[in-house]
């Protein structure tokens, strides 16, 4: 009995943390290249509705995820064009993307308001899912959850084991040096930004196709912003992003378990729903308290426009 509760908690924590993990890993790559895209919330919203609408029409969750990915890439391309080609202010452009994406998803999603999708059965990994306790918690998840682990491994491998990853990091630290050695700074930043858009789109689709699975306006409810905070919290390191994502996953589901546990103290649900946002502020304070933590770890050129003057 005790074990089944523990299993349920681990299971739900992973589910809640997965969209954060996917989106934050995408943003990590973007920021490592020196681009600050604050539009994650908007890209997730667009991905969520594109994925939902596609899955709704075709009955295929896989097609839904692909559509969300394409939608995320398309909206992030607007941002990339503004900040990389037209050298617009990255903070303002990211905000514009967030506002536009949330608005667009509300507009496109109107006919789907409160529509639902049939739940997608989990993908049980043979043998592993039979392990007591952790089998049902960790190895009986949706396939996108396994994807997020592969993504993590891929991001670590790419950043720290490949030459391209090294180039990406150099561009984030010093675009002018990278340019003078002959690397196409702008093109690589474009690719990084589009990759971030694709991941944000998939993160949104995870919410609307697998997690809930339904569409309501505003369903992303700040998860995109939390993912941005996670990247800072993780000091731009992939493994710490995962730790942070599951930490927040735990906070996000705490509400359900407090309400389900039948405690004597009655806490209004709104206060429990505030927890993830309060937790975000707390971790941001903790990580920023020592000015060196951020100064030493953040990509030096983050948020600075760069133009190779030919």
């Amino acid at each position: 009995m005790e074990n089944s509760i523990l299993t349920a908690i681990i299971f739900a924590t992973i589910v809640a943390g997965t969209p954060l993990l996917i989106v934050a890993l995408g943003e990590l790559i973007v920021e490592r290249s020196g681009v600050l895209n604050l539009g994650a919330e908007g890209m997730m919203a667009v991905g969520a509705i594109a994925g939902f609408a596609t899955a709704h029409a075709t009955g295929s969750a896989v097609l839904g995820v692909l559509a969300a990915m394409v939608a995320g890439i398309l909206v992030s391309a607007i941002f990339a064009y503004l900040v990389l080609t037209l050298l617009a202010n990255q903070v303002a452009s990211g905000l514009a993307l967030a506002i536009f994406g949330v608005g667009l998803s509300a507009f496109v999603g109107k006919p789907y308001e409160s529509a639902t999708l049939p739940p997608v059965p989990p993908l049980k990994i043979p043998l592993l899912s039979d392990i007591p306790l952790i089998g049902p918690a960790i190895f009986s998840q949706q396939w996108l959850v396994y994807f997020s682990w592969l993504l993590l491994a891929g991001v670590i491998w790419f950043l720290f084991k490949t030459r391209s990853g090294l180039v990406l990091r150099v561009i984030g630290e010093s675009p002018s040096s990278a340019h003078s050695i002959g690397y196409p700074v702008i093109r690589i930043r474009y690719l990084a930004t589009l990759f971030g858009g694709a991941m944000a789109g998939i993160g949104g689709a995870f919410l609307s196709i697998f997690h809930t699975p339904l569409w309501v306006e505003g369903m992303v409810s700040g998860r995109g912003w939390i993912a941005l905070a996670l990247v800072v919290f993780a000091t731009w390191r992939p493994l710490r992003v995962m730790a942070g994502a599951y930490l927040f996953g735990g906070v996000l589901i705490a509400q359900l378990f407090v309400q389900g546990s039948g405690t004597q103290i009655e806490i209004p649900s709104q206060f429990l729903s505030m927890l993830p946002y309060i937790a975000t502020i707390v971790v941001l304070v903790l990580i920023a308290r020592n000015p060196n933590t951020i100064r030493l770890n953040s990509p030096v050129s983050l948020g600075q426009p760069y133009r190779p003057d030919a």
Binding site: L82, V91, Q270, F271, I281
Partner: protein
């Protein structure tokens, strides 16, 4: 092939032309959107952009909508000029509505001319307090104000939801999540008979004038601008960076708080769960399109109000979701940011350097 060439100095003409280009492009984009949705673009244009201007009542509605946007935007501009990124005006607006509305509920049955001024002050204090959180965390712990002020939006939304579902719920309200209606003495007086235009407009105009004087005519406003544009120079001249951050956030918070109060003490007449209408986010666009200056913000707030009302009209007459206005608002900001490239660059044929 064309390429961008840096200008020797930023073009002032382009700086003021760029919002107009953005508006024109948004208009064209709008026509394309209507066409793509299978609506007659000309009918769409009439419904969206001309209907809101057809008579006195409509124009009064336009000003009514523009008022909170202008109030919030002028406060944000003070911060944005100093590179203080208060993105959480929506939350400060909600807390202002709670504080201002709280005063109205507390003084229910007391018909005094002092209720309304107290509400305005309470709204300003509420908004400023909410903005003081990111200001304190930024100055004390170096915490990013963008993310903190944003997180506080969600917290404020939940707070107002709790109030209207719980302690402040109207016991005779058929269980709707809303407070009692305010007394007449807690509602802003109407300016023009037969319309909903109320005394929030003169408050907003006063705020725009004050904002203009502060930003363009006062030494202190100048120091804030220097702090934003050249941090090292500001430090060298002895301008306090911390004071700039506090000033930027508190001004934005107080103005957003007043805007929240004028909404609940104006057209709403009570606090409901739907106090938050995205004005705090739209005002960011207003501030940018208005070039962070008072006169620009005045016109930009009217334009943004037009987009809001146009969206409502499109819902009514074209059977389109009113959120189409959010799409147009986002487009407007995209086009503005894009057109701004010509402030610092000009197009030249490649090779002809």
């Amino acid at each position: 092939m064309l390429r961008f060439q840096a200008r020797a100095e930023p073009s002032l003409t382009m700086r003021y032309l760029s919002p107009l280009i953005a508006v024109a492009l948004t208009l064209i984009g709008g026509l394309i959107v209507f066409f793509a949705l299978g609506k007659d673009p000309w009918v769409g244009f009439k419904v969206f952009f001309l209907n809101p201007l057809k008579d006195t009542y409509s124009i009064a509605e336009l000003f009514l909508k523009a008022t909170p946007l202008a109030l919030i935007a002028i406060g944000l501009a003070v911060g944005f000029r100093a590179n203080v990124w208060n993105i959480g005006a929506e939350g400060q607006y909600i807390i202002g509505a709670i504080f201002g509305g709280g005063v109205a509920l507390y003084f229910q049955g007391v018909s005094s001319p002092f209720v309304l001024p107290t509400m305005v002050i309470a709204g300003a204090i509420g908004g400023a307090l909410w903005a003081a959180i990111p200001a304190a965390l930024r100055t004390r712990f170096n915490t990013n104000e963008i993310l903190v002020s944003l997180m506080l939006v969600y917290i404020a939304q939940l707070l107002v939801s709790w109030l209207v579902h719980g302690p402040w719920k109207d016991p005779e309200g058929f269980n709707f999540p809303q407070t009692k209606m305010f007394d007449d003495s807690a509602i802003l007086p109407i300016l023009i008979e037969g319309t909903r235009l109320n005394a929030a407009l003169p408050i907003a105009i006063a705020a725009l004038v004050a904002g203009y004087l502060f930003m363009n005519r006062s030494f202190y406003g100048f120091t804030m601008q220097v702090a934003g544009q050249a941090e090292a120079a500001a430090r060298y001249a002895g301008f306090s960076a911390k004071r700039t951050i506090w000033m930027g956030l508190l001004t934005g918070g107080a103005m957003a708080g007043i805007a929240g109060m004028t909404e609940v003490g104006g057209p709403m007449g009570q606090i409901t769960e739907h106090v938050s209408q995205g004005y705090g986010f739209s005002a960011i666009i207003v501030a940018f399109v208005g070039r962070l200056n008072a006169i620009g913000i005045f016109f930009a707030s009217l334009l943004m109000a037009l987009l809001y009302i146009g969206g409502e009209q499109a819902q009514q007459y074209l059977n389109l979701p009113s959120s189409i206005s959010k799409v147009f608002q986002g487009m407007l900001l995209f086009f503005l940011l894009g057109a701004d490239v010509f402030v610092n660059y000009r197009l030249r044929a490649a090779g002809g350097k």
